[in-house]
Symmetry: none
Subunit: 209 residues, 4 copies
DNA sequence: TATGAATGAGTGTTCATTCAT
DNA sequence: TATGAATGAACACTCATTCAT
């Protein structure tokens, strides 16, 4: 929930807020945050420049809000989806699959997240890291469940696994959405990644120790 | 080899060029590319603002050159190192290990690469993607060798593996260099990652097919 | 009487007009005209921003109206007061005294007049100079009466006297209302100023000529 | 002496600094501080907009520096002049006379000081009040000397006198420089004011008490 | 080569004003 | 009348880049 900024009370307020954020995703994806102009976003959203400042504190806040709201949305969707699945391995697979498919359906958002998240994570102190941490915890929990149930016997520390998986997912998704002639489609990528991670995390009896 | 720009003639020229790039790494790591000022780099390098333009076409070119030269250096170091190792699996392990240790020893460079590479990859059309591709190919080759020798029997496509590994490495390294109180040291991280990847790529007899 | 603007029709209209002006005095005193926002005045007055434009043409007009009405009020009060006094010297003293006391009782108004009047006098072509001239004429008349009755024998031209007196009063009042730990109170200041001016304007037999 | 802002070291630096300040006086006099644009000043000074920021921290600093330097100059000139005069009354007269003539010769500066000083005094915390206080002290000292030597026997407190005199001078000067068809010239005004003040401050034996 | 003063295009942000409700 | 969301013109300030020395 955004604070500080008196949200306009009109009926269409949320709609306009969303329109601006949607425009921002498109513009940021196209030019990158730093090369995007507020006036471009305003134009794309069909509002005046000044209107953006009725809904967001400043340009940074547009990006932060974008991260916050879109990550929340994505996380919620993933959580809800996982709720319907019991078997840990299936949950893990479903997570990977749905993350990849979600990003494939929201290519511009995927671009923005991949390209700008690190910048933001480093230079914007507040919201982004929190939301991002929440996302990483989702991964942690999945891994812990898999371990608890004996699916994963890996000795790799969870803190390393969760980040590695995020890094791999993120990079892969970026490649997927940017490549104009992709060799693999989202489904293939999702399956391959799931396969890769699962193999890496299962402790195979034959591989001894 | 850079073009357009008058090649440095004096012996001290290369030294000044390097000093500027070294300063740039430090400044970019601290503030990010877009928030870094040419004047800050000049000051850090102990030269006048204008002098930077004797060695680099413009601000973008400083970052591009940085990527180009530092990636080249890193790649060459890794290549040379791998040359001394025969067994594919050992080469793979050595690669992971050395990448992580190298970045740990060059924390500022690691930050810049992690935080700025994607932006640059996307928005700077020229050198960066080429150099980055070269790096990825290094990974590809390692994987191909492992496959050729039967170490990896994975069915995951190499194009997906190489990017996943880069993504995981990159994210992990970023975490490593940024966390003020890291839970794991570089050695642990390297070992864990190698373990994770190798397990994921070996085709385990027991895991059937 | 203001023109152009629809005359307030409802009984409550005048009241709202006054509330806005009262709010404006407070806000202008606190931040200065140029640093005051219409929205601040609206908030202070408890009305919507747009409402101000139902009562005033624009921001300038708020200040102009403020000067016009408050100066009129002050002048009328002073005139009325002077009407009850016959002796020119007493009228002069009463004028000084009451101007100072009035401003002391209306500190915020005094600040606005002192700080903004000159700007307005110079850059706002219409009402302000007229009203201000009227105020100065009040002084002129007092002086003329004193001269006519032989109280003042000064050879200093009236045009110079009236402005000097206004300047001195204005500066003194500003000092009085702004100083958080004033050395003199309003009464003392009034008496001192009256003394100073009267001495300066009486032609003292002993001082020759 | 200005600090913080690295003054350009070039030979012509002081000259450019002065040119900008001179331009600022002209522009501020014409439009008032708040309605003056940096670009107007730059144009008038024959420099680029950005150049102004090499010599001044920001727009406020231009005004502050203007006050500081011009007041210093004026005060120094007045001090030097007074040094050559012994008799307190003559010193007082000389002060009035020279202040008025100086302002008459620097009409635009006079306008800026009269119109903007109060704003600045109130809203700019640092330099202006200090310099202004120094100016007031000059007046105080003159009065004290006159009292010490028995020229003034007034009972009006010095703190009130100095501000009244400044207020009267300032207002009178403003009138003088603004009136397109002035009834009095600078000499007359100076003489009249001196006369007025002196009469007001001398304690006339015949006026008893 | 090296300097750093000068440039001026470019933009985030503010806020007086409007107008649909 | 009253509202306050929306507008968009306006502007201070920054900083990459140039160029005279």
């Amino acid at each position: 929930m955004k604070a500080e900024k008196a949200a306009p009370r009109r009926a269409g307020a949320q709609e306009k807020h969303d329109r601006i954020l949607k425009a921002a995703v498109k513009i940021f994806a196209r030019h990158g945050f730093h090369n995007s102009k507020i006036s471009q976003i305003a134009k794309e959203a069909g509002v005046a420049d000044g209107t953006i400042y009725l809904y967001f504190k400043n340009k940074d806040d547009v990006l932060i809000s974008l991260f916050e709201e879109k990550l929340t949305e994505a996380i919620d969707r993933l959580k809800e989806l996982l709720d319907g699945i019991d078997a840990p391995e299936q949950r893990f697979r479903a997570f990977i699959r749905n993350y990849v498919l979600y990003m494939d359906e929201n290519k511009e958002l995927a671009e923005v997240i991949s390209v700008e998240l690190r910048q933001s994570n480093k230079f914007m102190k507040e919201y982004v890291p929190i939301k991002f941490g929440e996302f990483l915890n989702l991964v942690s929990n999945l891994i812990r469940d898999c371990k608890d149930q004996g699916v994963f016997r890996t000795s790799v520390p969870p803190g390393i696994i969760k980040r590695s998986i995020f890094g791999a997912l993120d990079e892969m998704v970026l490649y997927m959405v940017l490549d104009p002639h992709p060799k693999y489609d989202a489904e293939e990528i999702a399956d391959a990644l799931a396969e890769f991670f699962l193999e890496g995390l299962k402790k195979h009896p034959s591989s001894g120790q």
